[in-house]
Amino acid sequence: MAAEVVILGGGVGGTILANLVAKHSSGSAHVAVVDATGIHVYQPGFLYVAVGQELPSALRRPEAKLLHHDVSLVIDRATRVDPVARKVQLESGRTLRYDQLLLATGSRTLMDEVPGATDAHDFYTMDGASRLFEALKAFAGGTIVIGVAGIPYKCPPAPVEFAFLLDDYLRARGIRDKTEIKLLSPLNRAFTIEATSKLVQPILAERGIELTGFFNVESVDPAAKTVSSLEGETVAYDLLVLVPPHRGQKVIEDSGLGDERGWVPVDKNTLKHSKLENIWAIGDATNIPISKSGSVAHYEATIAAAEIVAEVKGEAPPAHVYDGKVMCFLETGRGQATTISFDYDHPPVSPTPARRWHWAKALFNKTYWHTVPQGRLP
């Protein structure tokens, strides 16, 4: 009898894993993806929606069209996992039994956790990015403040990239000289990675983007239009863009599968749940202290897929484990970008920003639908 492989989440990680397990399990597994909307969203595109360089419709495709023909898509919301009975409860009342369960549930953003942040914008959801673009179109000059209200958050370079793309946008509108851009960083550098920060900080200075270090956003006063930090500083804004606090999904918290913020504890190499049998987690959902990004979900999915295939076929686990590989692009504006690559044993390296990296990122974004979900890229 085929093993039941249930995947919670139809994002990049869940989709790749579903397709790879279906393709390589030789009939040993029945694969089901549970997704609340049935719509696959390409989240790295939100940044471009926020500055009017991409349309929301270009970032959505029906999940069913991206899945291998042997994968079942269950459009429903998982509400509870019972790891003892090996069952997943769905919102509709239906229950799914599993032999192997993959948690690819991603993260959620909660701006409500920041006191007073009622007028703060963000580019971490499609709606947030669309609203931000509307606000930018109506903006005629003043101070735009970009801050971070919680760590970890998806795509660590995103606030820096947004600052550069915003600079381009304001220049194109002819209002850059009427606008101050202030980037508030939680660390004493532009962002988490020191080598890349050294590369981008002179470019921030050259573009007139003011960087303030050690500013972890704690609260907002929307009446006074000020944002205050955990460190005790206050900055005034006309338009505020915050990276909202992130948590794991509610189903993880409600089922007791994660830590106090809902991140699933896993072995950083095998991606197996640290305490529970027959459960894996990948992507944003895990507590591994590396970037929450599409590339991590992608690389982890290929590893977890091979492990699950071995499990359902009754074979020895594969020797190749997840080595912490991360690869991402970082837009530096004016049609240029750099890349950041590293793993657990190798520190990050970034080449000098150039046009070719911007085009490589644009090409990747456009061809994503035909390559990544199907597991066609290693």
């Binding site: 760590i151 050690f214 972890n216 202290p289």
Partner: protein, 83 residues
């Protein structure tokens, strides 16, 4: 074994050994964000960058660095949330 001089009661230990910079500091910031004034946190870090990052952040954020003790391949930082 560590040879901590302080006899403070530790409210929370953040074992960030093996985490690359700035993981240890980020975990400390997260703990201080959620913690109460007066609580004492212990951070264990094997990352060299923590030796400068953690004291620099504590100075800026005006929390107390109570003690720093070098152990076998890692560093203990004892921190008190001061405000």
């Amino acid at each position: 074994m560590s040879t901590l001089m302080s006899k403070l009661q530790i409210d929370k230990t953040i074992d960030a050994r093996g985490m690359a910079c700035p993981g240890p500091l980020m975990n400390l910031i997260g703990a201080i964000r959620q913690g109460q004034v007066g609580q004492v946190f212990e951070v264990l870090s094997s990352d060299e960058g923590s030796k400068t990052d953690i004291p620099a952040w504590l100075t800026k954020a005006r929390h107390d660095l109570v003690e720093v003790v070098q152990d076998n391949g890692y560093t203990h930082f004892i921190v008190r949330k001061a405000r």
